[in-house]
Structures are given as structure tokens and as C-alpha cells.
Symmetry: C3
Subunit: 452 residues, 3 copies
């Protein structure tokens, strides 16, 4: 199912503005409600200005025999993104000065953009340069670059509390698979899971934005709100390729986002590495900028810059796999479930341990115990010993080298027995793991959808 | 000598209450003064209540031919500890439901208790189940479970100051060697050493308690006093078996107890490992509970749960060795001597180094020096450089990778020369290592003892 | 050139006082201005007193045939430094009691001093003891030990600011190469470099002192000034021998001196080790004493005590190399340039990243970039992200694993564009690396020098 969605979205000509973005969001809206917000060209956001809207109908290069030797219809990367309209005959030299290739990867079309400087150009496989033997060429770029709008997609699943969790991905790299169609796909699957799960402690926000300008625009509008409410967030990018995970920490490095993701990765036993935040990256550059410094990390697979097909036409369907996408969806869901399950408690009995058997929490026969009894007693005693207001469930689970959400079920039991009280003071309903994990990846049939 | 004491104590039927505990404490009182304190059944201590006192005269199972096929006389573990009185004929099925075995260790009798739920049962080797071929059996448990007392043994060696050091072991695991007759034996040897040593800076308290209920009871009575006075403490358990040491840190993890024990273990060159505190353990669970959080760790050898004979009849005399017990006594004594020797000083000359040769502390001929001179000068200069009120001798010795008590002798010299002053402000007598380390393990002949 | 200077200084009879020190400083003054400061015998400095001044004209031992079998003319180490005047005939036994040898290094003359106790003696190769077959000997020590002066050499290169950097070396180990003629040589080369470089942010102070008494004396006079002004300092000693560097941290361990030296060593790729401060050492013992605790470390090569020729006549010209001396000069200069280049900035755009292309700082064509572009953009984005007032350039360079002074050039660019402002508030001229690094090691011809 994910790959069917992939195949619908992959051919769309997407850039940082334009109808391609709207088309993609409309298709995703079949699965999950996504509001399209439009912001006009020329609008200022911090140090930036929303550019003109760009749309392209066709673009090609014809040789002297009238053959289209380069055609946007063949691959979206053939045209430099944001190329200005052009129609005319150019000499071979003039044309070659406008053509980008990758000599070191002669079969790949490079990905080139010129968002903020008016320009035009084409991108082709280096091996095809030898076909340019004519002395002049007809060039057509039937595009518009006019005042219009930049489109942001936003989804929301409400929870019981005031705090929220952010997932953010980007919509602007056309006809590339890992970077970046995998992010919107995985984020949408996670969004769909949460819609169906319900009974959430946190509110969940899902952003589909053009990279950089989109997150800057969003922060210029809603940054103060996020600063106040955000408990954790993740940039979802490069999640379809490679055997292992990379988690890039938030700039603060010790936020709930980081602790939950690292906890889940470690407990998963799957290959992974943890890297420090850096300004080489995606929208976490903006989310973690000094004035906001939000708790936003990024769980990826093989990340931008770490694979040779990056930013070329070889970052295609063959590079990614449904299994990798699905495994990433699972991992994001486990992280979210860990955050949902997490809580900080305080023991009610701090003068020595409470007597557990009189509350039915300990076998009345001592001496030898089964493995299961030992595990349960171990979780109980760790929770009682470390619930001092300073350690949340993730901390305690890390001390035990156990899965945090397992611990949450035992914590609910101790809460019911009056041995723990939540530090927040609020009533905490017993944590219940979602029962239908199998279902989350099956998109809701279109007929049952309501579009937003 | 230790093993003779072992042989007297091993056969005693000990539980968390009863005459077995008193008998054990009375025998130990031949070596060191131990006060027996009695607390009545029904008394409340925090969340716990002192149970009825349990004593047993005999217990057996007879087959139809009148043969005793299980007899408490053969092994104390045959009867579930705290079994209620019973006398009657039971069917094979009824009996087998009351019999505990360890299928995975068919030659071991398991250790089973039922302190807080009235019940009875027997424990046998799994291999012997095949002997139970009759259809009914005569069962006799001639025990009493009545209002009585719980007994705590306490010893004390006074020192010059107000602070104290605690050693605590437990008295309630009958006829098992490493866990737990080794603890009372080692603790008593250390106690005897300190009695003879005298001239102590700290007061020393020695507790012999039933595990869990005993330490909780003690804390309910004296916890505030300990919180005020305790400088360091250790739970002495599992100290007779295995080639290497395990030190389990206090919950706070950086207390004097931890620093001294870790320092001594490292300097000893003996194999050891350091583990974090956890609520899987013995009475440090109570001593380190949130309200008290005392500086109490535990120096063990092969610890509870880490050897297959744990909590079975195979934890017997063959499992432990006199050498291991003795080596542990030595290690505890070295830790205590390190704590006795430890002090925080302040240099009187902080504007550059003082001139050492004019005080006879430095060779007047410079250039080349013997190894001994270099060592001595090195200790002097480290003491002067780091005695800034923030580093005690253990810290400074750790920086030098030297034995702390060696450093103490040099510190006394500098104190005498006026180059150091104690931070505590009190007069500190020159540290003197005890000269008779050879003697400590030889129990004082009974005739010379005064009982308490 | 360095080795020519070495050859002029090596034969001079230097001690902690006397004309040898003055002669050495006068020769160095041909290269760099060095002021000679004289302090009288008997003057008190903290716990110390300046000793009498010692000078020696000749010293020898003659056998019965009138042959000089030991002669100060042959090697400065033959006479115990600070030997009192003596002239007379002594028996073989009396003489041997005054003779120092190194049995484990029979071909080496040991280095022995007796600064603070009036005494005399000779030092010879252990192998030569067999030549002492006569029953009596004529001994002449034509020395003076009288009230006089202790000489300190001091140089200074002024900078724009108020803070200063200290280099300190010692003048008192005669006719030994690594420890210690290498220190004065390297320090003088660095001093000469800074004189020619000019345009300095920091003031630079260069001390040439007798070890221990000299730094104590200096601190007694100027310690409070140093405490107020010193940003970083290094003791320059043992810098001519061995393939790798040793950096000994200041006692505080995290000062600018430490961070700059460790940064430069790591970026150099040269073999090195970092060690903690200890009171086994040279004048950092005094500079880091508790009352001052200055930010003074020590960059060495094979350090005192780590090579067998240490403090013997085998620490000679063959032990050191011009390459090693030169490489150390280079390393000190790189450290100083790193300190000069270091600054703490604050980003002016903290709400998301500023738009770089409109300031000409970012390629307007995106997608693929050259390695150089990526490097430059990377430096820019790191500087903007981490310039929050808490991280200086060394910190940011360490995060990037880049050379700090490279980062400084990019920082100047951002400063010019108004994207960074200095935290200090002061006007910061653009950092410019010195262009004439090749020249620094060529001493200025004597004719062009001005003496101080």
C-alpha cells in the first residue's frame, strides 16, 4: 500500500511553491486530514521573503532535426527547479553553459535549484553530453514565475493535555525517493496510526512544508506557540533506504525527544547510530535556532549526504524498500508510544520499601521465584526506589535496561494501589498500549475518508 | 578458627524470629559483645508489622511403613520456613502439592519461606520425588507460631568522634553457607579486630538482623539517628565464595563508603567489579530508601543470584573457603583503616610551595634522588598542592594512584610541621596504622572474654 | 641558526645565580630585548629567601702526580652546583665521600646541586672511579659564595588589550640540552616571531628565571598582576628531544591555555599525549599554587623524568635535534595564533537562519555543491548556530573538528556582514593570519637589533 502511494506521488513536479505541492497534499488528504495553508509571495518571515510561485507546463531542448533530446516529461530533474520562462534558439556553447551534469556519476541527472535568483538551466546525465553535436538548439521553458502563494500542509490529532508533539517533513524534492518522498510517506502512516489510536495524552501536529522557507515561515507564524507547548518533535526525512537507523539529536541534546528516541533504538536491538546536532541538515536547523531551540531531533535511515545517489535521479524507487519504510514507521510509533507512556511519579512510601504481599504485588512464598515473578518484582522495586520526582519512566527503564512501555503497565498497577502518585498532580488514566498495531499501515479505504 | 565457628552455627535452625537467632547471637557473643534487643509481635514499623515468633521442635513425613522419608533433622531446608503446626495424614496428591523441588537442580533442596502467609510445606531434592509411591503419608510439624519477639543483635565499638560506621549482616538463612553464614562470620571478625585495635576516630555499629524486616525495624527506631551520624556503612553478605569481589555502590553512589571501598579494591590489585546500586539486593534496599538514603554499599564476593547454588542446600560448606572469608575480612579492614586515616586538610602555604628542606622534608642535595626519596617528596607535594579543603586523602591518593593510608602517614608529618591544618578544626592525633594486623583473625580465647 | 645559538650557550656555567645567567641573557638579548632584573641575596619571597650569589672560576682534583683527573673545564657538571670554596689535600676516603656517580649509567656524569646547604662535591662517570688509586688528592674549588644578586630576564611584546600571555622557561641547568637549554632557545624563537608579527590582541611576557626560586620570586613581586591579567601561559621546558609532544594541563585543567594547546595538538595530527597537572614538574608548580592558580600549562616533547639521560651529561647536543626544536616553535606559534584568533561572538539573527545568498555568502544555485563551497557554508552555519555567547571559536572548531584559525577568517567575514557581533563589545579588527611564517625562525641579523 505504501508503494502504491509512492507511485502516485513520485511523478509529480514538486518545488517549494506551485500546484505540484497542492496536488501531493490533496492525495495525502485522502488518507489523513491535511489543511492547506496559503501564504502570499512577498510576505516577510524573519530574514526571508516568500518567493514568487513557480509552475511549469513543459520544457524541452530540440536539436536541429527537431528531436526533443531533453524533455521534462522524461524526468522532473531535467529542468533546474524555478527556471524562468524561456523560448528561443541558442548556440551550442550558450546551451552547454546552462547544462549541469555530474562527471563523477555519468548516468545520474543532478538535482539543481535556483529558488532565489532568476535563472534557467537543464540537468542531464554526463554521458549524454556527447549527443550535443549540433551548433544550435531550440529551447522551450513554458513556465510561470509570478506572484502567488506558498503552500503548507498541516494535520492535527488532539490529545487530552496541552503539550504537543511535532512531526515535520518536506514536500519539495520531486522524483527522488529517499530524499524526499520517504518522509511524507512515513509521516502520513504515523499520522494515520495516531488518528485511529485515539486516547492520546499529547496533541500531535504534522507539518508538510517546503524545506527551509517552509519551516521558517511556520516558525514566524507559530514559533512562540511551539516554544510554549512542544514536548518533543522530529524531522522525518531520508527514511526509506539503508539497513540501519541514524538518530540526530536536538541541539539541546537531552530533551524528551532525544531520550525517547535513543531509549527505543537501544531497546530495539536494531543497528543504529546516534549523532550530535549540527547545522548540516534539514528543518531542525530552523526548529533548533537560538531563539526557539525546540526539542526537535530527527530519526533517519541512511541520511542526506551519506549515500552517493543523494540529490540525483538515482535516488529512485529501486533505492528504497517497503520494508525499510515500514520499519521506520514502526520505530516512530514505538517512540511515540514511549512518550505517551512516560510519566514522572513519586513513591508514597519512602521510609523503607512498602510491604508488597499485603497488596497482592509479591509472592507470599519466598526463596525461589520464577523468571516472570522476578521480572515483575524487579520492575516494582525499581519504580518504587527511583520514583522520587527526578526520574521519569524512561530514566528508570534505562537503569533497568528494559522497555519503557513495559514499565508503564507496572506503574499503572502501582498507581492503582496508591504506591505511586503522579508528580504532575493530574489524574492519569492507566496506560494502555494500543491493541491494533497490525492495522496502522493499512490506509483507510478512500470511500470512508472525509476530506478536510 | 573461622571454620570452627562456622561448624557451630551452620546447623542452627534460624529464621526471621525464634530461638535459633538467639542461639546464634549468644555464640557470637563469646567473641564480641552483642546485645540482643527484642521487639514484640504486632509492633508496627513503617508499612510493616512484626510477625508472630516461630519455633519448631521437629518435622517429618512418614510413609506407610512408618519410615521418616523426610526429616527436619536431616536438613533445615526440608521444612518451609514459618510452616504452621500440622499433624495428620494426607493423601499423596495433597502432600505433593505441599512439596517444593527444583527440577533443574534435582539434587538440591530449595530454600522456601512463607513468613507473612500462614501455610506449611516441605522442600526436597527433585530426584527423591520418585520415592513417594504410597497413597498416603503421616505429616508432623511440631512448631509454634505465637505472639513473641523478633530479635536483633547489636554491637558497638566507641570512637573519639560523633560520626559512625555501620556494618550490617543478616541472621535468617539457615544451613546455607555463602548466603548467609559468611556475612555474620566476616562481620564478627571485623568487629573483633576493631575491639582490639582501639584508638578509633569513628564509632562502629554492628547489626545482626533478620533480612528486610530487621533493617526496617531498626530504621523505624534509629533511622533518624543514623541519618544524622552515619559516615559510611556496608551490608556484609555473600562473602565466602568465588575468586573475586563485587562492590555494589550506595544509591547516592559517591559517598565516603563508595570512595573508600573502590579506592581500596583498586589499590589491592585483586580482581573485582563495581556495580551500581539497584533495588535487587539485601538490606541496602532499606538503608538507601528515599527518606534515609544512607551512605551504605555492600562489599561481596560472588553475590546473591550470581551462582547456581544460591538459595539451595548446595550453598554449603564446600562452596566457601576459609581463604575467601579471610581475604574479605582483610579487605573490610583495609577499607575501615582507609576511612580512619582519611582527613581533609588545608595547606598553610598557598603562595607557592613552602621550602621543604629547611623543615627537613627534602634532600638538601638536588639533582638525582633515590626512588624512596622521590616517592616521599611526591606524596608531600601532592598533599600540599591538593589540600585546599575540597580534596580529602582518598581523592589525593586516587590522583597519585597510591594507597590512601600510606599518604596518611606523610600527612601526619606535614601536620606536625605546621604545613597542613585539618579542615574540621579539631585536633587530629597522628595517624598510626595498627601494628597487629596478623592477630585480628585469631579469636580472643573464650576465657578472656567478657559477655555483654 | 638555532644550533649556532645552542653552541654559544651550552658551555656557559649557569646556576640559579651568578654571571653565567647574565652572560646567557646578554647573548639572547642580541636576538630579542631582555631586561635583566636583579634581586639581592637575603630578600624574602613568601617562604623562601634569595641565596647568596655563586660564581666559580676554576675547580679541579689533582692526583699525586699533579695530573688534573677531574676538571671543571672539561664539563660543567663535574662540580656540584653551589659548591663552597675549598682548597686543600684530602684523603681518598674523604674525597670519595664527596664524589657522586651513577652506577646504573657508568658513562654519565650526574647533575647534582646543593643550593640551600653549604657543601661541596664533584660528579664523575662511575667508570672513572677506578682511576682513584692514590691515597690523597689536591682539591681546588676557586668559587665565591657571597651576598650578591639573583638575576631574572624578562621580555615583553605589547598588544592592543589588557590581558596577557606568559611564556616562562629556566636558565639554571648548565651544559644539558633538552633539560634545559631547549626551553630558552624555543622561547626566544617564539618571542622573536611575535616581535616581528605585531598587531597583537594580547600582551606577551617572556620570563627567563632560575627554576623554582625564580618563579617564586617573580610571583612574590608580580603575582597579583598576573592573576588579574593572565589569559594563558606555558612553561617551556624539555622541548628538543623525542618524536612526540606531551601537554601537561594547568591545575584548573579547562583554561584557555589548555583548550588552545589541546585543540592545536589534535588538529596537527602529530603524535602527542595529554596529561593532568601534578606537582611533579617545573615552574607550573608555583604558577598553579593555590593562591594564584594561574592558567599555565606546559607543552613539552619528551619530558623530565621520561628519558634515561635526564639530569646527566648524556642530555647533550646529540640527544636533541634542530627539527624537534623547530617543530616545537611551530606548535607554540600555532597555539598563540589560535589564542589570538579566538573570540566569542553572538549571532544577530537568532530566529531561524539568516538568508545567506542575499549577502553573497551562499551559492544561489542549490542542489549540488563543490567541496569548497560545502566547507565554507559549513563553517558559516556552525558559526551562526553556536555563536550564542557561550561558545568561542575554539569550542566551535572542536565541534566541527576543524582548525580554529581557519574558522576565524570566516568569522571575520560574518562580522563584516553584520551577522555576528563580538560579545566583548569591543571593536574587533578582522583576523589576519601572519603571512611570514617562513621567516620567524631566522634570527634577525645582529646589526639590525636594538638591545634593551
Amino acid at each position: 500500500m505504501i508503494m502504491e502511494l509512492f507511485d502516485r506521488l513520485f511523478p509529480i513536479q514538486r518545488s517549494i511553491t506551485g500546484d505540484g505541492v497542492r496536488e501531493m497534499l490533496t492525495i495525502l488528504n485522502e488518507l489523513v486530514p491535511i489543511e492547506q495553508k496559503e501564504y502570499p509571495s512577498g510576505m516577510t518571515c524573519f530574514d526571508w521573503t516568500i518567493p514568487k510561485e513557480w509552475n511549469v507546463r513543459e520544457a524541452y531542448i530540440k536539436n536541429k532535426r527537431g528531436e526533443k533530446i531533453v524533455d521534462l516529461c522524461d524526468h522532473n530533474l531535467h529542468l533546474v527547479s524555478y527556471s524562468v520562462p524561456f523560448r528561443g534558439t541558442v548556440s551550442r556553447d550558450e546551451l552547454l553553459a546552462r547544462i549541469h551534469t555530474l562527471p563523477e556519476m555519468p548516468d545520474a541527472i543532478p538535482y539543481v535549484t535556483s529558488y532565489y535568483k532568476e535563472n534557467w538551466g537543464f540537468c542531464i546525465e554526463h554521458n549524454r553530453l556527447r549527443e550535443f553535436v549540433d551548433d544550435e538548439y531550440e529551447v522551450v521553458i513554458d513556465a510561470t514565475l509570478e506572484d502567488g502563494y506558498l503552500t503548507i500542509g498541516e494535520g492535527y490529532v488532539p490529545g487530552r493535555g496541552e503539550q504537543e508533539i511535532l512531526l515535520s517533513t518536506y514536500v519539495c524534492h520531486p522524483s527522488m525517493a529517499n530524499n524526499e518522498l520517504s518522509g511524507p510517506l512515513v509521516q502520513t502512516m504515523v499520522y494515520q496510526y495516531l488518528l485511529k489510536r485515539g486516547n492520546l495524552k499529547y496533541n500531535y501536529r504534522f507539518l508538510y512544508v517546503p524545506e527551509t522557507i517552509g519551516s521558517i515561515l511556520y516558525l514566524s507564524q507559530y514559533g512562540d506557540m511551539l516554544k510554549q507547548r512542544l514536548a518533543a518533535g522530529y524531522v522525518v526525512t531520508c527514511v526509506g533506504h539503508g539497513p540501519s537507523f541514524t538518530y540526530k539529536k536536538s541541539k539541546r541534546g537531552e530533551t524528551l525527544a532525544d531520550r525517547a528516541a535513543i531509549h527505543v533504538l537501544r531497546q530495539s536491538g536494531k543497528p543504529h547510530r546516534i549523532i550530535e546536532w549540527s547545522p548540516f541538515g534539514s528543518d531542525e536547523r530552523q526548529y533548533c535556532s537560538q531563539a526557539f531551540n525546540l526539542p526537535v531531533g530527527s530519526l533517519m535511515r541512511t541520511m542526506y549526504g551519506d549515500y552517493k545517489e543523494y540529490h540525483t535521479s538515482l535516488d529512485n524507487r529501486d533505492l528504497i524498500s517497503e520494508e525499510a519504510l515500514q520499519e521506520t514507521v514502526d520505530m516512530y510509533i514505538k517512540i511515540i508510544e514511549t512518550i505517551e507512556a512516560n510519566e514522572t511519579y513519586r513513591s508514597t512510601h519512602i521510609h523503607c520499601e512498602p510491604k508488597l504481599d499485603k497488596r497482592g504485588l509479591y509472592p507470599s512464598t519466598g526463596g525461589t521465584r520464577s523468571r516472570e515473578e522476578r521480572e515483575r518484582v524487579s520492575m516494582i522495586t525499581y519504580l518504587l526506589a527511583y520514583s522520587d520526582g527526578d526520574h521519569d519512566l524512561i530514566d528508570i527503564a534505562d537503569k533497568m535496561n528494559k522497555v519503557g512501555s513495559d514499565l508503564a503497565e507496572t506503574a499503572s498497577l502501582l498507581l492503582a494501589k496508591g504506591l505511586l502518585v503522579p508528580c504532575s498532580g493530574e489524574e492519569i488514566p492507566a496506560y494502555q498500549a494500543s491493541g491494533n498495531r497490525e492495522e496502522y499501515s493499512r490506509p483507510i479505504p478512500l470511500s470512508k475518508q472525509a476530506s478536510s
